[in-house]
């Protein structure tokens, strides 16, 4: 068996748009939001794979589909060598234990009526990782200690904590089940920079300690560069480029990746002319024909409107989906 912990092939997710009172139950929806289109990637054991892109590019939907919070409309998801694409709710339980999620907003992802102790021990009891309540309790306290909170804080409620501490609690809740794989959906975007650095360091520490693999989702490229091993760039529900962190940041191939990198403000450097025109595309109801990026691409030609570019490998492990990369790029 390969050493890929997660393997996603041609994953597709569309959401029907319900219009009017009856169309939801009786009629067939006429329009669809194409959130994720033919996305394929794999995550190796012990690796941090990041998905990057602007808002609405489908990175969160991809993550939620992998963990089966959404049912995929096409393609397959393998976890630890097992096809989990069509498993039923009950059959998913053991996999839900092995894959955990950390959400973006630490203010809404913790139950305000539960104490921290309950928040962390509830999943332990549910998955029967502890024989009784006392044992679950001890486990919860041990994890709290590991992520930098004091045991006497265990009986407080979420509102008594700051954003950074709440994100620590979310991490503790995910760790409580000894998962192998954690999906972190924008875990630091809601935090201040000084706190953001603490959480990023914590995520890297527990990765080694608990032997984890991450799917990391972010729009902040500097954060992604800091934490990832491999990076996938998404645009309109497609992966347009994927590669090792070092190759992709040193030598980006796709025009969108280039534009994205050029748009990031660099400390102490004068403002450059914008590398890209046009707005972030709105909800993808009608996908453009051919290349998804062609409407904002400065190099778009006739072929881009006609043929969908495939992901091709240009360096070992470095793939891009653009018609013009091989011809010296743009």
């Amino acid at each position: 068996m390969s050493d890929n912990l997660v393997e996603v092939k041609n994953l597709t997710k569309v959401f029907p748009i319900k219009q009017g009172l009856f169309s939801g139950h009786f009629g067939k929806p006429k329009q669809f939001v194409h959130a994720v289109n033919n996305v394929s990637f794999h995550i190796k054991q012990g690796e941090v794979f990041s998905l990057v892109g602007e808002s609405g590019c489908g990175k969160s939907t991809t993550a939620r589909t992998i963990i089966r919070l959404h049912d995929p409309d096409g393609g397959s998801i393998h976890f630890g060598g097992v096809d989990i694409t069509h498993l039923g709710e009950k059959e998913m339980y053991p996999f839900r234990r092995r894959m955990q999620m950390i959400f973006q907003n630490p203010y809404s992802s913790l139950n305000p009526r539960y104490t921290i102790r309950n928040i962390i021990s509830e999943p332990i009891l549910f998955h029967k990782l502890a024989a009784n309540k006392k044992e679950a309790d001890e486990k919860a306290l041990e994890i709290l200690n590991n992520i930098g909170l004091r045991p006497e804080q265990a009986d407080r409620y979420p509102h008594q904590f700051s954003g950074g501490q709440r994100q620590r609690i979310s991490i503790a809740r995910a760790l409580a089940l000894n998962p192998e794989f954690i999906i972190a959906d924008e875990p630091v975007s809601a935090l201040d920079v000084s706190i953001q650095a603490q959480i990023l360091n914590l995520l890297l520490d527990i990765k080694d300690e608990y032997n984890l693999s991450y799917l990391f989702i972010a729009h902040n490229l500097a954060v992604v560069k800091h934490i990832s091993d491999r990076v996938g760039i998404m645009y309109l529900g497609h992966i347009v480029e994927v590669g090792n962190k070092n190759t992709i940041f040193k030598h980006p191939l796709h025009p969108y990746t280039n534009a994205l990198f050029a748009s990031i403000p660099v400390l102490g450097q004068k403002m450059k002319d914008p590398a890209i025109t046009g707005d972030t595309p709105s909800t993808p109801i009608d996908l453009p024909s051919g290349c998804c990026f062609r409407k904002r691409c400065a190099f778009a030609q006739k072929i881009c409107a006609e043929v969908v570019p495939e992901l091709k490998e240009y360096e070992p492990g470095h793939q891009a989906a653009c018609h013009f990369v091989e011809k010296g790029g743009c």
Binding site: D192, V193, A197, A222
Partner: protein, 326 residues
């Protein structure tokens, strides 16, 4: 004629709540030259937005100005009546807010909203106002402005709405524009377009800009001067080069060290330890002392005064009372 467009002296804006007094802005000083771009940086809750609102005198109870002066063109804003202020707001000083989704009125077309500003501050005819609105939309880069004038805000994307707001703020050719986190809600590719445009427009119109943001990198790209705020105080101020290349206050250093950068690859970030104190329970001495690596007993007891360590580069830290380093 005053030397400076804006001079803020010892500004204190406090909020008297049931839980206690929040010293949101506590003794802020800065000066701003005509035609300059000033960046105000700090984490959430450091008082940077309240400083911005104070300049427009937009503080509602329980907020109160406790002391200080805000000299705009040599005249103290805090002494002005509401009536005088409404002639300044949106005319001489205009503001761009963070959230482009909520700062436009959803029930009016964007044409009406731009023309409203022109109607209040000026005496143009209906026709002139319409022409001016079209011109403004063209300037901020909205395609086919004549027809879009009749569109409602929900028909625009986030980036486009922020452009409309910039158009409104430029309508009266203000001397000062205060932009409070103007691009935080936008994606990076759109952010770079908007900031670039804002900078060009400000330079072309010879206005001045105060850019309030938490993004140090963004500020360093366009600002000539930067002030760094922490817990309602200015901890360090100076030129962009002073702050980015020669940071001296431990907080500024910590802030710069905790940002992951695109241009180097450190294995670990060096975060500032601890967290921002609650505004109801601020430390007695230096506000940063409990998180500071170089904290001494003096720091815990007395608040440091600002010291000028180089021309224009001021630091608020006991380390520099006498020559010293951390």
């Amino acid at each position: 004629m005053a030397d400076y467009l804006l001079e803020v002296n010892d500004l204190k804006t406090y909020f008297y709540t049931f839980k206690g007094v929040v010293k949101a802005v506590d003794g802020v000083n800065f000066k701003m030259r005509r035609g300059g771009i000033l960046g105000v940086v700090g984490e959430s809750g450091c008082g940077k937005s309240i400083t911005g609102f104070s300049i427009l005198k937009m503080i509602d109870p329980p907020g109160k100005f406790v002391s200080g002066q805000i000299l705009f063109n040599g005249e103290d804003i805090l002494q002005k009546s509401e009536e005088d202020m409404s002639k300044i707001r949106g005319n001489k000083i205009s503001m761009i807010f963070q959230d482009p989704m909520t700062s436009l009125n959803p029930l009016y077309t964007i044409g009406q909203q731009i023309m409203e500003t022109l109607a209040i501050h000026g005496n143009m005819t209906e026709k002139q106002r319409r022409d001016k609105a079209v011109e403004l939309l063209k300037v901020v880069g909205i395609p086919s402005p004549e027809s879009r004038l009749n569109d409602y805000p929900h028909q625009f994307s986030g980036g486009m709405r922020q452009r409309v707001i910039i158009a409104i703020s430029l309508a009266t050719s203000p001397e000062l524009i205060i932009a409070d986190e103007p691009t935080t809600a936008l994606d990076v590719t759109v952010q770079s377009q908007i900031i670039h445009q804002l900078e060009q427009l400000v330079r072309k119109n010879n206005s001045s800009l105060i850019l309030i943001t938490h993004d140090v990198a963004l500020v360093s790209q366009i600002a000539e001067n930067i002030i760094v705020m922490y817990c309602g105080k200015v901890v360090e101020s100076g030129t962009m080069e002073d702050i980015i290349y020669r940071p001296t206050h431990p907080y500024t250093k910590g802030l710069l060290n905790s940002i992951p950068r695109m241009d180097d690859s450190k294995d670990r970030l060096e975060p500032i330890k601890g967290m921002v104190p609650s505004p109801f329970d601020l430390p007695v001495g230096c506000k940063f002392a409990p998180r500071c690596e170089c904290c001494s007993s003096k720091c815990l007891q007395t608040e440091p005064e600002a010291v000028e360590i180089a021309p224009g580069h001021r630091v608020c830290c006991h380390l520099f009372d006498e020559k010293g380093d951390c």
